[in-house]
């Protein structure tokens, strides 16, 4: 019994400690990103890495998501005889929910894991210490560009996802099932409001921050892991953790933002 209590206390202490560390990490990274001189070149490289190089995956994922969404909605709407709502249903689901979440998940898998393992390896090979010792602030040099790039790239990728998703929905609904093209797009114009777009945009901004924040912090604090993390095994374990935690955080944040903004 004492043992269980002891372990419970131990792990909750660990959780509080890690949460505090992550929060301080974020504050310091934001503070370093806000202070000039800005590192445009590093930022551009990171936008390229997180954003541009995820674009193809996003296009494929978005197209298929739009198609399957259209398929499912069509099947449902036919039963109620309201197929004309297909366009708005696809667009609303995409803009408010699916595009931000799925984009964030794709970015976690593609860029987030890479960010975590890259920084984790830098930590375990003393490269981050080397930066410190050269009087180069790792928060400014290494982390701030990634964080800003995440906040820029994820919303852009999300809008790409929405566009291609609507094309996918159009393809299944209009081309395959013969829904009237005019009804498909007219419905969309009439139902989608600025508020829906604002909600999707807010989500993607916050997800972008969350994804880079969590994955880079996990790598950065590799050496402080509670049960020790060394070498390749440590980096791979921490990366797995980072991907899981980031994904769950995105889903939790998604619910919270929806609940607040709806």
């Amino acid at each position: 019994m004492i043992n269980v209590l002891h372990r419970l206390g131990d792990s909750s202490l660990g959780f509080v400690e890690q949460a505090g560390r992550l929060l301080l990490f974020l504050l310091r990274a934001i503070a370093s990103a806000a202070r000039p001189p800005y590192r445009w070149q590093a930022l551009l490289r990171q936008v390229h890495f997180i954003g541009a190089r995820s674009a193809l995956v996003i296009l494929v994922a978005g197209f298929f998501t739009g198609m399957v969404l259209s398929l499912q909605f069509y099947d449902t709407l036919v039963r109620f005889g309201s197929v004309s709502l297909l366009g708005s249903a696809v667009a609303l689901a995409m803009i408010r929910e699916l595009a931000p979440v799925l984009t964030a998940l794709v970015v976690i898998g593609r860029a987030g894991s890479a960010i975590c393992s890259e920084i984790g390896i830098m930590r375990s090979q003393e490269q981050i210490d080397a930066l410190e010792c050269m009087a180069v602030d790792p928060y400014r040099y290494l982390l701030a560009p990634k964080l800003v790039a995440g906040v820029i790239s994820v919303p852009l990728l999300t809008s790409l996802f929405i566009m291609i998703g609507i094309v996918g929905g159009w393809f299944v609904g209009v081309v395959l099932f013969g829904v009237s093209e005019a009804a498909f797009f007219q419905g969309m114009y009439e139902t989608v409001t600025l508020h829906d777009i604002r909600m999707g945009f807010t989500k993607s901004l916050i997800f972008g921050l969350l994804v880079v924040w969590i994955t880079s912090a996990k790598g950065f604090f590799l050496h402080l892991e509670r049960y020790g993390a060394h070498g390749a095994e440590g980096v791979s374990r921490v990366t797995t953790d980072a991907v899981v935690i980031a994904s769950i955080s995105v889903l939790c944040a998604d619910y919270l933002i929806s609940a607040i903004m709806l």
Binding site: M122, Q125, E126, Q127, A130, E132, C133, A135, V136, D137
Partner: protein, 266 residues
Amino acid sequence: MDAVIQVTDLVTHYGQRRILDGIELSVLPREILVIMGGSGSGKSTFLRHLLGLKKPSSGTIRILGQDITGLSRKQLYALRKQIGVAFQGGALFGSLTVGENVELPLREHTRLDEDTIRIMARMKLEMMNLSGFDTLMPSELSGGMLKRAGLARALVMDPRILFFDEPSAGLDPVVAAELDELILKLRDTLGMTIVVVTHELESAFKIADRITVLDQGRLVITGTVDEVRATDNERVQDLFNRRPRNDAVDRDAYLHRLTGYRHDAL
């Protein structure tokens, strides 16, 4: 002569465990001080404290007259521009070429033009017998080359103090000897103060002006090579003669370690 580095009563902990205990040390200008000790002696921890990467539990570390335990980040960074650190594995950044790695401190801290930066970096690489390697990526270099490139980067700002972590670990004897020569040359030609952390005896005896030996978190002895060699301290002699440690075994503590139970409580 004023000491370049002055450590007074340094005590550090890792969690509850005491790692360093009452360390007193001074390093004089233009001297090569070698910190020796076996694995787990606390020498890596000591180095991290000297570099300001860790904060001690108590005690002071004065480097170039400033107590680094009480400096703000800004002041610490200003001080670090006068300090070079060569890490064990080189710690080069994998995403930059060898040349860009060496140029990095100049780019960050000076307003020199592109050509000057490149020339200065190449000069340091030349000094390390690495001319022509500046366009390669770190992954294309051998262990010894990485170490030398790391040293070139540590020297590019012409620091007053150089810290070198395990210069000869993992190198073949010839390359290790070359690095020793290089360290001596740096002191003689550039007048640098150099602190080397190592467990390699041969290299320590060759380069050191003074040696200090760490054992289980305490400094056992500090002195010239001859003084340290002549000491009758058992721990030091064990280290020098590669004798296995014969720790007196406390029966109860041993049982406790094995079983996880306190023997007397059973």
